[in-house]
Symmetry: C2
Subunit: 410 residues, 2 copies
Amino acid sequence: MPPLSHRGQAMPVSPFRKLLPFAEAAKQAGKVVYPLNIGQPDVLTPPEMLDAVRHADLTILGYAPGAGTESYRHKLAAYYQRAGIPARFEDVMVTTAGSEAILFAMLTCLNPGDEVIVAEPFYGTYTAFAIAAGVAIVAVTAHIEDGFALPPLADFEAVITERTRAILICNPSNPTGYVYRRDELEALLGLCIRHDLYLLSDEAYREYCYDGAVSTSVLSLAGGEQHTVVLDTISKRYSACGARVGALVTRNPAVWQAALRFGQMRICPPVLEMLAAEAAADLPPSYFDGTRAEYQARRDLTVARLRAMPGVTCPVPGGAFYVVARLPVDDAEKFGQWLLEEFTLDNQTLMLSPANGFYHTAGLGRQEVRLAYVINRTALDAAFDCLAQALRVYPGRTAQLADAAAVATA
Amino acid sequence: MPPLSHRGQAMPVSPFRKLLPFAEAAKQAGKVVYPLNIGQPDVLTPPEMLDAVRHADLTILGYAPGAGTESYRHKLAAYYQRAGIPARFEDVMVTTAGSEAILFAMLTCLNPGDEVIVAEPFYGTYTAFAIAAGVAIVAVTAHIEDGFALPPLADFEAVITERTRAILICNPSNPTGYVYRRDELEALLGLCIRHDLYLLSDEAYREYCYDGAVSTSVLSLAGGEQHTVVLDTISKRYSACGARVGALVTRNPAVWQAALRFGQMRICPPVLEMLAAEAAADLPPSYFDGTRAEYQARRDLTVARLRAMPGVTCPVPGGAFYVVARLPVDDAEKFGQWLLEEFTLDNQTLMLSPANGFYHTAGLGRQEVRLAYVINRTALDAAFDCLAQALRVYPGRTAQLADAAAVATA
């Protein structure tokens, strides 16, 4: 047969789907598997979104413009403005999910062989997009001991080369939940301006910041017009992951125009789901009060339960709906597989994402996992009962036996 | 500002949207503009498709698998089998429209710098995908005098280099309507096998062959399992262009698996629209009898009207719903702009696609246009009345004045 391309061979299996075959086997065997591996919330999609599609007066499901329907772009601009983000109609290009916004931004801003700096751990799929776009990821490491705070600016500066073209952040961060402060973003933008780099900002979790925190969009930074590109999606915001509607937003018209030409290549985003997205953009800001409170309660439960487990390190994530925790295990991927293949508690177990898939540097994150607190608290509690028990009995556990024994007899 | 990527700069404006600003201006000025520029049929989308979405029992619009829902993949495999194409469930990967199937095939089968051979004129957007994938298109020219028949195999063989990895065809062809005979496809496959190349086949217009002709899928060629990849879409088949649901189908499991990893990168195709697609896959083969008859009648009208215009060369397209015609004009792009800016007949005009956007070789197709016969016959007739009159009065006409005078007094 003809050879596969190198990128076809290099393209990784999705880090949150790596354990899927074992989960399928566990379900086949009758086990209940709590899915903490993927950011698929059990929160209902706003009925307004589904109703908009149900009641659409359509007889021909025809093409839309490459940048998305004008009506949706207007509503999206209004949504940004309500959120204090200075994005205008002409800055908004609708994409087929956040995925396409990431890909188009890489294709538009970087040449093959160029470098993009990303703080690790990062959304593992960035690696796949970088391979597809022929771009090299250069990682700067954030540490669990610091709550995965933004690494010092000097760490970014130290890895800038003549091939560096962009810094890519996710704010609030998937997978760490870290929320960037405005002064941190201003410092990053300053660095980008000094070195003539793009600042690409994945803001999929904008509304989900806890304890009263508010996330800052890079679009609202003074002097950033030429440098900042926001990668956005409705997937998480409205629990509409299957809708595949996102946006690339930039005040740089040259970037916008080039991204649009990539958009014309694929003609248009999905039309029915743009109708749903348009209805979502009409939802009042109060919609998020309820969902945010629910996710905050889930986060609080998650952190409390994890911190009560001996040998577990768990920062408090300020946003998004993930936590990266360090477990007292030899190898989180082995542990994840063991949970699905060997373990049950009352015929239940859980699926997690080994964090090595979120690090670029080989060997990092071997004891860490990403957990998505996207299921209701009763289910979360049951999942953590499983995890606590699993950590007591896992053959590869590394915590002091004394600790484990203390818990066992508590 | 930071520089745009080279590919961002090289990415072309869509060839069927090039004249769009002039069409918008014409509409603003109150003109009726018949859209023969783009393959957006006025045929109603089957109500079954829209009803499937309207009545879906959904409360959470969640992710689907990267290869598409299992239920849709099963139905799509059944559709292929009914069409005599030996594609199984495990060969079918659902994509976000045919666009994504084209992109994933290029990313999977070719390295940056590798070459894909395409017979020109070809679907102009292939150029955009090739730029995005870093792949070089090498053209072999088909000629209007031959009805755009497949160029001799020797022409393909002559341009094969050590960087050649694939031959890409569109069958039935957009833009020429040429339908490949089985023996031609077998010869192409033989060439691919001898040189260890992929044979990528865009079969978006499979059902639309006229005068009793039937198109042949490369998947049905004996011995082609390792080499053939079909790029498919429901856009044209069911007049559902906005649904953005397609498929990459191959019996080569290594290609399928690598394409799936690209698919996992973007997580899943649009979910509501997969429901619509699933309903379409349930439609009986007789559905196509009605649509095919309608397109054939439109084709017949199109060819008859064009051939009646002095100086126009128009082959009879055997399939799809386009024709590439040569007009007696100095420059088809200038003529297309003139139609929108300067011309009216009873306040009506038409928009066409200059064919230069469908040729890879600079300078070819300067007098040719692609016309999509996707609007009803009354509208088509009115559009051709405009075209006939326009060709009489266009200042840059090249036909014999005697001919033009003869028609004017006829």
